[in-house]
Amino acid sequence: MAGKPVRPTNAIDQTRRMLSLVTYLKERPGARVEDVARAFGITEDELVSDLDVLPMCGTSFRGGDLLDIDTDGERIWWHNPAALGEETAEPLRLAADEATALLVAARAVSTLPGLRESDRQALLRATAKVETAAGEQAGASSRLSVTFEAEGGVFADVDRAISERRRLWIRYYSPARDELTEREIDPIRLVSVGHTYVEAWCRRSEARRTFRLDRVAEIKILDEPSAPPEVELRDLSEGLVQPAAEDPEVVVEVGPGGRWVAEYYPHDSADELSDGGLRITLRTPDPASLRRLALRLGRDGRIVSPRDLADSAREAAREALAAYDGVEAQGAQAAGAGRDGQGDGRYDRQEQGL
């Protein structure tokens, strides 16, 4: 599967790893390179680079032997395991950062609603054991916490469909168009990056699509087998939304109150304006989908281009305002809106002047 952890080579991590490696190798003469790399979650190249350093290392002051460890590329041999005293080779206690990283992640994963109950129980047991073994080093882990969001029922169905290789039918909400569409999808994997998403082959659009689970209004597991074409899994660490270069450009100008747009929308540029606002340039395959944004911004911003997008937002607002006049007339009798009639009347008069 995809997703080796992010692990840049640095001296600290390598030292940490080598200290565990010597303990591990001492008990496993002739261990296979492949197996050891897997057990340590590293590539064989990384392991071999550790094995290049270890023969330069030794334990005792003055005249102590260097570790005589070598490999033929397949197996690892340690010719003088006694060079490392019995005690020196014992497993080391966890550091505060190590306990924090493992415990915070374990607690976060255990809150995933879609996790199988047996796996959750195993994780909770393991967490408790690690907490005990870490002792006071576990304390710092209370300074960090992570909550994943996922819709329990939908999650369980997607997870099951993936493991049973079956097709899914979903009713999916698209906020860009404010509509629900029905689709059949062949799920590929679940990804949790803040929200939880299913990456799937969408049979309707005949393309790979990512669906946010909290926007799935309805879901059914179908009897048909899932048959997604072979696709290369993308690296999603840079975000799920990756606009293409050929997508049309949209320019939005916002005041100080609309600066949040730059936080929520991936964009090409955000230039400071003299009033404390921003001029944001972004790309989207479907500019019409940004009408919602224009409406939401109100006096905090406006679409500069494309022109027709700005016009359609204005048009929608006018249409909406017109509806208020109509409701007002009915509302006065039906809902007995006398209580707030005064306030609304003020707006009515102003609307009519538009």
């Binding site: 565990s20 350093v53 505060a96 915070v104 992640a105 976060a108 994963v109 994997r189 660490s237």
Partner: protein, 317 residues
């Protein structure tokens, strides 16, 4: 050729772990090749101090002992460095394996792998592929903010920090002096909770709004850190999810699915419109305006006024 830092650290660690009596700086210098190559006492001293700090970051407890002649010696006692016995079964090992992969932040990813490797050396079973055991689930914890790591360390070490912070609606950032308590990731964004020294009160900060560097002020703060920090409640309040009232709206049939999903009651009016009662919290006006002509607010008057006000601003363009 300069000797790799990892080799130097490894040798220092093994020397300190392997000895039964404290080793003086002089002895250590003579037994580690990289230190022998140091071309001055100064550069050796600097290197040695940094290396000790690095090994302590890795969890090594290094004791400093003065002998009868007043000479300082160092050793890493086995008793204080040994992992207590821990036995995990295959399912527990697989579950931890999955958890160790979720960090997308280099320091924590490295630390989580390191923890697992230590457990592996202590006999953690390795015959289960964590992905097989957990189906297709790939949880990831995103960390894109540069301020994350310094704040994490400041929370851990209880060091006050200063950073420039731009409030959601402010044009310019302002410096904030904070005693950091805890970091929390919610809906994919990181928040810091802490005591704001200038305002004399608890505050929650969104990391993406921190501009520039986080500077850590020397001395540790001693004020108590609360056991329970309510980041999520505060942020939910910003997001308008702590509604204490309700609103009555008309919604065009077939439109506004998320509004329907939140509604406490839906009544079909039969004329192409439905009437919904929905929770009314902070930010509802902006959200309703997104639906344009498909939503009409009936009550309360204050919400109606806010929505009409926003629509007028857009209509004027």
């Amino acid at each position: 050729m300069a000797i790799a830092k990892a080799e130097r650290l490894m040798n220092l660690a093994l020397c300190l772990l392997g000895t039964r009596r404290p080793l003086s700086k002089r002895e250590l210098r003579e037994s580690i090749e990289a230190y022998l190559e140091a071309n001055s006492d100064d550069s050796f001293n600097r290197m040695f101090e940094r290396d000790k700090d690095d090994l302590r970051e890795l969890g090594l407890v290094i004791e400093t002992v003065e002998n009868l002649d007043g000479e300082v010696g160092y050793l890493a006692r086995r008793d204080s460095n040994r992992l207590p016995p821990i036995t995990l079964d295959a399912e527990e090992a697989a579950a931890l394996g999955l958890a160790a992969k979720v960090w997308q932040q280099a320091r924590l990813a490295g630390a989580a792998s390191g923890a697992l490797q230590k457990l592996r050396a202590a006999g953690l079973p390795e015959d289960v592929d964590p992905y097989e055991a957990h189906g297709a689930l790939e949880p990831r914890i995103p960390v894109h903010e540069a301020s994350f790591e310094p704040l994490m360390l400041a929370c851990r070490d209880r060091r006050p920090v200063v950073f420039d912070y731009r409030k959601a609606t402010a044009a310019r950032p302002e410096p904030r002096h904070v005693e950091p308590w805890a970091l929390e990731c919610w809906r994919g964004h990181w928040y810091l909770a802490g005591f704001d020294r200038d305002r004399g009160a608890e505050r929650v900060f969104r990391l993406s709004r921190i501009t520039g560097k986080v500077r850590s002020r020397g001395a540790r703060f001693t004020a108590p850190v609360p056991d329970v920090v309510t980041v999520r409640e505060t942020v939910a309040g910003w997001a308008g999810e702590t509604a204490d009232r309700s609103a009555l709206i008309r919604l065009r049939t077939g439109a506004g699915y998320p509004l329907r999903a939140k509604a406490t009651s839906v009544r079909e009016l039969g004329d192409g419109w439905d009437e919904l009662e929905i929770p009314y919290g902070h930010g509802l006006d902006a959200w309703l305006v997104e639906f344009g002509p498909d939503v009409v607010v009936l009550e309360p008057a204050e919400l109606r006024a806010d929505v009409v006000d926003r629509l007028r601003a857009v209509a004027k363009g």
